[in-house]
Structure formats: structure tokens, C-alpha cells
Amino acid sequence: MSQVRVLVGTKKGAFILTADGKRDKWEVTGPHFAGWELYHLKGSPADPNRIYASQSSGWFGQLIQRSNDGGKTWEPVDNKFVYDGIPGTHQWYDGTPHPWEFKRVWHLEPSLTDPDTVYAGVEDAAIFRSADGGKSWNELSGLRGHGSGPRWQPGAGGMCLHTLILDPTNPQRIYIAISAAGAFRTDDGGVTWKPINQGLRSAQIPDPNADVGHCVHHVAMHPSRPDVLFMQKHWDIMRSDNAGELWREVSGNLPTDFGFVIDVHAHEPETIYVVPIKSDSEHFPPEGKLRVYRSRTGGEEWEPLTKGLPQSDCYVNVYRDAMAVDSMESCGIYFGTTGGQVYASADSGDSWAPIVRDLPAVLSVEVQTLA
């Protein structure tokens, strides 16, 4: 029978949650790397036992951990993320030039075909690649060096490259997103990059239609339609049907279109999920009601999903990498909160239950569907 493994990164360690295909009884292991921040863990699609984890702390910096046995044991691999050449400057919050400084790895994206190849999205924004299972890292510096870098500015959470999507039909194509520079795409395996922010509109910036400077929070893609992208921007839910060349807003009837997460159903490429958050100054659900919103029409028309979720006095947030889906026949949806709950739905979001309730604040959630 199939098994589901949920990889949870928190402010104080990593947790691994496993269940059989029914997804009603969960075993929790952890904390792994107790006391450290685990911004992200992700398993290799080519070898599910290979898992990469980003471990960091304000005291001791960045580590990368690797497991070859599905998270039972771990070994530290290379943690040397050195920018290619002279790093140069980006804009600081006050508009002055600020040198590029490595701070942490926000997101690890293993190759779809090779367990030893993995990409890292880092703060200050850049993309690195390892082709030897994390034993060494090299920057794909065409992104940082493509021209607009000196105009990039950090979002409130830092200038992080937080989203990294590999096109399953075209190994040369990668999408990334940076707060608050925007989304970018490469069509040559990471050598050259272009901003893909046409159609985004951010009222808070001097030129609301600028080619860079948009605070993209997260981007999601269904593997069967790699040209269709869904975006949770700072404000606005956006959609592109042409690989990011042009975006249009699909916020529709959402109660608020601020938020962080966005994801796509495993088997229905027009079914998408968001968790609306009240505003950029109040990072919790509107009215104290934790509601996932689902659109079965690729946006515009949204329905609240509330069964099993707290509908009063709930003031948690859901961070940008803290939602994931499994690929079981009845698609499972998972998300983690800053209150330490991980909620799961085994029926595409119709009903929810917490897998665990009292973890440290959840930074990321990924799911592996195991044969």
C-alpha cells in the first residue's frame, strides 16, 4: 500500500510525519537538528530516500544536511555558498547600494531525474547548483548578473530566492521568484535569465508596472502544464498561461488577496489553493477564521474550505513554502502554521484534521508519495 511522508521544517528543528494511504494515523519523528531553523527539506523525485535539508541558525550560519535513507540518518554536506566573482550591490531598504551577503538557504529543489543534482535558492538572492549530492555548490550567476540586480531590494523577510520550479518537459527551463525582485525564467539551464513580471501591478512601488521590484510570495505549477503558472503576490493572485510572459489577476471573490502560499491539485490542473491572510500589516486570517480557499476554475471563483479548521480566535500565519500536495488517487493537501499545527486533508480540501498541533512555528511543508 502506498505511504505518505510529510517533511516539516520549523523554527526549532525538522519533523517527519508518515502515514499509510488512508492518511488517518500518523507517526511523528523528530525533532531532527533540534534547536536549529529548518527553512526547507525536500526529497528527490528520482530517489525518495534522498532528502536534502537546509539547517541554519543566527549563531552558526548555514548547513546542508543530506539523508540517503528517507530521513532516518543524516550527514552534513558542503555549506560553502560563495557568490561567483565580485558580488556587487543591490539596493538596501533606504535605497542605498548594499553588498550582496550570503545569509541562508530558503529552498532546496532536487532535480527531477538525478538524485545528486539539487538547486538552492538563497538569501541574498541567488541560485546555486550542486551536481554531487551537495558536496560542492556553484552559483548560476547569470541570474544575479543579468542586469537588474543593482535595483533589487529586500522584502521585509530579507532578499530571498524562495521559489524554484523545474519544468518537467524541458530540462533547460527553470522558474524562480525573489522577494522583492519578482519572477525570472531561464530557458538555457540557468546561463541567462529574464524577468517575467509583465502584468504584475504593485501599487506600493514607484513604478507599479516596473519590470522588477515586485514582491512575489510564491509560484506554483502543475507538472502536466508547465506553461501555466499561479502566483501569490504580496497582494493579488495572478495567473500566466504563457510561461510567465504575461500575468493576469485571478483574485476574484477572495475575502483578501494577500497571503503567502499557493498550490495546485495533483490531478486537476485548474484546481488551486490559497490561504488568505488579512493584510501585510496583520499577518493572520481575516476574522480569526482559518480558511483555505479553493478554485476549481484556475482562479476568479473561490470557495472557502473550513471543515475541521478553527473558525474562531485563530491568528496564525502560513508561510510561503508551507503548503504541499500528495499524489494519491484522492489528492491530499497539507499546510503548516506559525502556531505549530500541520493540517491535512485526504479529500482535496473538503475536510481537514491536524496531524500534529504543537510543533514550533512551521517554516515549510513538503510531501512525498511513496509506492
Binding site: 536549529w36 541558525s57 543566527g58 549563531w59 552558526f60 550560519g61 548547513l63 560563495v82
Partner: protein
């Protein structure tokens, strides 16, 4: 033989239970002790000093014979009690943060 006391998180990372004992070739300074430490425990590279600048991480401190040697003392010869192993070199994580 120089004794080094690591912060708890770095002991876990290096898989050591208590103090670390190191032989240092040439002059014994904080820099040469850290070089020897990172040579024996490569997983500690980057956790005490930045990979590129080689500067101490802001929340890590070096204590020698009850004195703070964190600032501008990393190239100074360590005193006899540390070199002889009577006193340990303390690497301390700042007591701060959430």
C-alpha cells in the same frame, strides 16, 4: 595539547561528547586552533567563522583564561595555561535570541 570547549549545538554537529583536544603545529593562536579544529571536524567549517571573510560570526565569542579574546586577539599567542592544557579555550554561543 590544547583543550577546546564547543557550544552544545556544535558538539552535536561534530558528534563529540565533551571537550575537544587538539595538537597545534607552530604558534598557538585562536586562528591556528580554529584551523586545527576545522581540519579534524570539517563539518564545523563556516559555523564559527565566515567561509569567505574568515571573520568570527557575530554571536560566537572566544574566551581565554576568563578574558574575552573575541576582538582583535585571534593572532595573539595563547597564554601558557591554554597551551599546556591547564585551561580550555572556550567557544561560546551568545546567550540571546528566541
Amino acid at each position: 595539547m590544547i583543550r577546546v570547549v564547543l557550544p552544545a549545538h556544535l558538539r552535536t554537529l561534530a558528534k563529540v561528547a565533551g571537550e575537544v583536544e587538539l595538537e597545534v603545529e607552530g604558534r598557538a593562536t585562536i586562528t591556528s586552533v580554529l584551523d586545527a579544529l576545522e581540519k579534524r571536524y570539517p563539518m564545523l567549517q563556516g559555523t564559527i567563522r565566515d567561509h569567505v571573510t574568515r571573520k568570527r560570526r557575530p554571536f560566537v565569542r572566544f574566551f581565554v583564561c576568563e578574558e574575552d579574546w573575541s576582538h582583535d586577539m585571534t593572532e595573539v599567542d595563547l597564554p601558557e595555561p591554554v597551551v599546556s592544557g591547564k585551561d580550555p579555550l572556550l567557544l561560546v554561543g551568545a546567550i540571546a535570541g528566541g
